[in-house]
Amino acid sequence: MLDLLWLVPALPLLGFLALFATEGKLPDKLVAVIGAGTVGIAALVALFAGREFLQSGEPSFSLSLWTWIAVADFQPSITLYLDALSLVMMGVITGVGFLIHLYATGYMWKDHQEPASYSRFFAYMNLFVFAMLMLVLGDNLLVLFLGWEGVGLCSYLLIGFYHRDAANGYAARKAFVVTRVGDTAFALGLFLLFRELGSLEIQQALAASSALTPCMATAICLLLLGGAVGKSAQVPLQTWLPDAMAGPTPVSALIHAATMVTAGVYLIARMQDLYLLSANAQHYVAVVGLATLLIASFTALTQRDIKRILAYSTMSQIGYMFMALGVGAWSAAIFHLMTHAFFKALLFLASGSVILALHHEQDIFKMGGLWKKLPVPFWSMAIGSGALVALPFVTSGFYSKDAILLTAYDTSGWLYWGGGVLAAGLTALYTTRMMVITFFGDAKTEPHEDSRINMWLPLAVLGVLSIVGGWFGIGVLDELLGGLGDFSHASPVAVVTMAVPLLGILLGVLVFSGRIDVAGFVESKAGDALRRFFDSGWAFDWLYERVFVKPFLWLARVNKGDVVDLIYTLTKSITRGLHHTGALTQTGRLRWYAANMAIGLIVVLLLAAGWL
């Protein structure tokens, strides 16, 4: 089975090719079978391959397919590499990916904007799964980069899926271009890595990396961090993620919550040995994580769009993962990546059901009182929110977040721990706000629930995973990756870590159900300014618009005619001018010519006589 590992990425690729080649002429049911089926089978293959890999007891397995490029000493090959880390990632991608595909077969069913859009959707989704699998399975940074850019492309295609609306196109381009900025840093990191170590093969490079000077190691790490920051929507390249919610909700669940945005975490975890060489770079990873964590949590407090709330919460949860990587809690980061994939996919899919039931209404202030009318989405959201908030002991999010915060306290002192706990409180606050306003209070829009098995089954499975994924995951991951040993929940730090989210929930319930009146502050001038500042995502968009976008557009506008061409048009004009001047002497008057000849003759004679 392990030799069939290539089938895992190949099956979704096959699905893509089939849907692509048939140009959307297949019946929708067949499209659904191909779209979800290929990913499902890939998940099964991954499961069996993973089991066999674990039974073999080897630390890694690689499957060489072919040499991609061989030029001089640059010899990247297309090789699949399986170890504990890529196994976890492969499991998440195919498993959660399959559930989301299954959900999407229902969600997109009636979404016929135009012919063939159902097929187009699944073609893009399958291509995405393929690219994401190449990203995590590639044993070479160039193959990783292939997947990296591939998922970026699919993200672009799916954000702009409803391409008739220019705003979606804008969001899609923004996502692609902003992540491309990070990718540029990533590419430069690859160039530098190759120049210094002579190989892009990950294991080889890591093994040779101890020869790097600390300065060089820091440079490489920071360049790679640049790529990770772009893809994972961390400060300062985070601005694309909220806009990316323009895509259909299953896309947000798969790409912008569960898998693609965590690619940066994967990259850094994969290059762990390199980061261990540079305490500086690792420190920056933690700083980036903490900054994103806090900025995104505050921003989520003021959003009205349910998907944007979830987007900001995704940013902040990935911030936790970055912080974990920065403080050396490698396994905890991957653990949180896994649980986050479960509960955030659940939250997005459940919110998708709510949105669908309300005829594409996304403003939480136009919802309300839905908890009885939409029981399946409500309970799913409730479980997901519980895991997001990290309710002690009963949710998966608790175990992973706890592992991060307690490790941070142990290795890096109170700063990261404090920031993380503060953000955990904020998480509880905004999640409670979302739940209270969406599901309780007065009903503002009448829902119609249309829940089929292919939609509630994934919710149910993800709900179960969001609860038991913690107990189950911590054991499995500890065995695979190590470093997740018992944390004592009795120390004062642990108790505070547990209590803060509960306080956040309590405060949230009191404030948002109106028992504590905060209107006075919110409506004051300072409160309003603060709200608008948070609402704009800390004005990053505003800043970038002025620093990068406007100058570039200005340059494009003034230089449309190509200033370099002036050299040649000027040459042309000067020649023309001389020509016209010369033509002036050609009067057509015989006597003028004769006079000129005479003068010319005199000049020549004088010259010849040497008098001039």
Partner: protein, 103 residues
Amino acid sequence: MAISVPVEHVLYVAALLFLMGLAGVLARRNVMFLLMSLEVMMNAAGLAFIAAGAKWGQPDGQIMFMLILALAAAEVAVALGLVLQLSRRYGTLDVDSASELSG
């Protein structure tokens, strides 16, 4: 036997004649006078040739003069045709009226 006229004197006369002709070409607008001035210039050149031939005792000067005579005859033939055309087309003998070939 012969009164010896210094060759410089003859050349002065020739130069004077040439300048008179040139002045005529530059100053007159009537095409007939223009042609006559041209003739004067050619004859000035001819005179210079004769003088030079006499000075060196060579026949070349006189041969050149005959060549100039032939040239003048040919030129007059063409030029009179042009004069006729000019007067027929423009109804005047003013050369400046035919200044169409300007740049």
